[in-house]
């Protein structure tokens, strides 16, 4: 069934028609077979019925003739002889006719029946010969002979004949009954099978019609949907085509812009190429410079070491200076003491001079001078002290400065080392930059070549766009046609409503 469902409509229809055809042929064949059977049985029936009927007739004739004979025997002279002969003649004719009718089917009889029939016919002929003899005897008036004959021969023959006829009739009747039973069975069978087959065929036919109509309905629905989709698609295509046409015009304008842009890019690429070449030169130069810088840094480090040594010397000198200034301070303090003592001496001298009165006046002046000298030397020592303080401060500052200088030298040498590393990095970077610039140069050259290839490609695109414009117009027309086609298909479907 699944095969049937899955197969195409054509195969379905073909198989259905074939099935119908087969059923019809079967029905026809069966009808023919049954008719043939019926005809055959009719013939047989005819045969058997004729035989049995004629046997009955023969029996009746035999019995009639027998009755007449027996009447003649009993009445003897009184009996009308004309009636006898006439009756017997009539019965003879009838018997002959019956035999004829029976013998008519001799060809169709089987052997036993044929033997029986022939036996009956022999007996009949024998009976009728004896009957003729009896009639002769009756006409001659020899009733004694007749009785004798009748008693001895004819009675036996007639009874035997009668028996045989009964047997034959019974047999034929039985056969007829059997036949009629069989024919009845076949007719009943035919009566059932043929209508049922016809009904089955009708049902099948209805089913086929239903299937086909369902299939057609499906097809119609699908076609309808398809048409709707078609019309929708057609409108969509139409709008798309218009959009595409506007898009193509925009693309055309964009293309011209693109062309100018590409020209600019090409020029930019050229500039980039030149710049890259310059960068290569510059980076090589900078690599050289970096090497020089490295040497300079090494020299700087050595210089720093020298400066460090000098700094040590300076600090030693400053320490010596500090010690010497301390010594100077001690000396000045002793000078100050001396000045103090000389001042006291001057004062004492002045006191002595005052005691001396007028004679000591000159001495007082000298004492005053000494005192002023002592004052001056004291002032000088204070000045020296101040200066020494300044020197001490300066020395301290110098010590701090030398310490800072030493630190600065240390950090400077560190920085110089770092700058050496940095310069190394710079050298590497410069080399990398040179490599990169070479790559950039190659890339920009490729770019330029690409740009020059793009220009004809752009021209091709422009041509393609022009073709596109034409194509979109054609597409619009085609879409219109599609739309019309959908409408006409719809109308057609409406017309051929399934």
């Amino acid at each position: 069934m699944s095969f049937f469902k899955d197969s195409s409509l054509r195969t379905k229809m073909i198989t259905s028609v074939l099935a119908l055809f087969i059923i019809a042929t079967i029905v026809l064949f069966l009808a023919y077979f049954f008719l043939h059977n019926i005809v055959k049985t009719e013939k047989e029936q005819d045969k058997f019925s004729t035989v049995s009927l004629n046997t009955v007739k023969l029996r009746a004739n035999v019995n009639q003739t027998r009755i007449i004979i027996l009447e003649a025997i009993s009445q003897k002279e009184k009996f009308n002889k004309d009636v006898i002969s006439k009756t017997i003649f009539d019965t003879k004719v009838i018997s002959e006719n019956s035999i004829k009718e029976i013998s008519k089917y001799n060809q169709d009889q089987n052997e036993t029946d044929l033997l029986q029939i022939n036996d009956v016919i022999q007996f009949l002929t024998l009976y009728y010969e004896n009957l003729n003899k009896q009639i002769d005897l009756i006409e001659k008036g020899k009733y004694d002979e007749l009785v004798q004959f009748d008693e001895s021969i004819q009675k036996v023959i007639s009874s035997k004949l009668n028996d045989k006829l009964i047997e034959l009739g019974k047999m034929q009747d039985n056969k007829l009954r059997n036949l009629s039973d069989g024919s009845q069975n076949t007719s009943v069978f035919a009566l059932w099978t043929i209508p049922s087959l016809i009904v089955f065929a009708l049902i099948l036919f209805f089913f086929i019609v239903y299937w086909i109509s369902a299939a057609l309905r499906n097809i119609q629905k699908e076609v309808n949907d398809g048409i709707e989709i078609l019309s929708e698609s057609a409108t969509n295509i139409l709008t798309s085509a218009t959009e595409v046409s506007t898009g193509t015009t925009e693309t055309a304008t964009a293309l011209t812009e693109n062309t100018t842009t590409i020209e600019e890019i090409r020029q930019t690429a050229m500039v980039a190429n030149q710049k890259a070449v310059k960068v290569v030169e510059i980076s090589q130069l900078s690599a050289k410079t970096a090497l020089n810088g490295k040497d300079s840094v090494m020299e700087t480090i050595e210089g720093m070491k020298k400066i460090s040594v000098q700094m040590d010397m300076i600090s030693e000198s400053v320490i010596k200076l500090s010690e010497q200034s301390r010594v100077i301070g001690e000396i000045t303090s002793s000078v100050n003491d001396l000045a103090d003592q000389s001042n006291l001496l001057a004062v004492n001298a002045a006191i002595e001079a005052a005691k001396a009165g007028d004679q000591g006046k000159g001495f007082a002046v000298v004492a005053q001078e000494i005192r002023s000298l002592a004052e001056q030397s004291k002032q000088a020592t204070t000045q020296v002290k101040d200066i020494l303080n300044d020197i001490q401060k300066a020395v301290n500052q110098a010590v701090m400065a030398t310490e800072q200088g030493a630190k600065a030298v240390e950090s400077g040498s560190k920085l110089a080392l770092q700058s050496g590393d940095v310069i190394q990095l710079m050298t590497d970077s410069a080399n990398e930059a040179a490599n990169s610039a070479i790559q950039i140069s190659a890339s920009s050259q490729q770019q330029m070549a690409g740009m020059e290839q793009i220009v004809p490609a752009m021209e091709n695109i422009r041509k393609a766009i022009e073709q596109n414009v034409v194509g979109t117009k054609q597409t619009q027309e085609a879409a219109n046609k599609l739309n019309e086609l959908g409408v006409s298909l719809k109308n057609m479907l409406i017309k051929y409503k399934v």
């Binding site: 103090d340 001042n343 006291l344 004062v347 002045a350 006191i351 005052a354 005691k355 005192r371």
Partner: protein
């Protein structure tokens, strides 16, 4: 060097010379005084009572003596008592001065000799008597009896004789 410079130098020389002339020019009686410093204040003593001025050296403190006695010193074989002038004149101690000098005072009439410890010696000065102003009576502090007056320069003039001969300084405990 032109003429105007010379004139300027001359004028300056005369100006300086006048200052010294003022000191030498004297018509009235003058006294010689020794000026010393005590807690930033200047005092002066009459030179006729001063034997000499010394630097304080090898001081020997003496126990069981009044506050104003510092100790004794040896001056060329002579033992001399040293008094603290600040205690005597009731001057407050301001800081410490290591330049302590000893003024040796002597009264030949009474045969008294002792030293006073001062902060510093300023020098010998001459004073006219009219230059000394008397101290106002309203001030009544200790040692006022020894004070003679005060000069225009703010130098306190000590009545040297009174000071030396005062009973205050006589040490009864001896």
């Amino acid at each position: 060097m032109n003429i105007s410079d010379k004139e300027i130098l001359k004028r300056r020389a005369t100006k300086l010379a006048k200052k010294t002339n003022v000191e030498t020019e004297q018509n009235e009686e003058q006294i010689f005084m020794l000026c010393f410093e005590l807690a930033s204040q200047r005092y002066c003593l009459d030179t006729s009572f001063i034997k000499e001025v010394l630097v304080l050296k090898d001081l020997t403190p003496i126990p069981n003596t009044p506050d104003f006695v510092i100790g004794v010193i040896n001056v060329r074989g002579q033992i001399l008592a040293v008094y603290n002038a600040k205690k005597i004149f009731n001057v407050k101690e301001i800081g410490i001065k290591d330049q302590n000098k000893v003024i040796v005072l002597k009264d030949n009439d009474k045969d008294i000799e002792f030293g006073i410890l001062v902060d510093g010696i300023i020098g010998n000065i001459k004073l006219s008597l009219h230059e000394i102003e008397s101290i106002p009576d309203s001030l009544n502090e200790t040692g006022k009896e020894y004070l003679k007056g005060i000069t225009d320069n703010g130098i306190i003039v000590i009545n040297t004789k009174g000071f030396i001969e005062s009973q205050f300084l006589v040490i009864k405990q001896f």
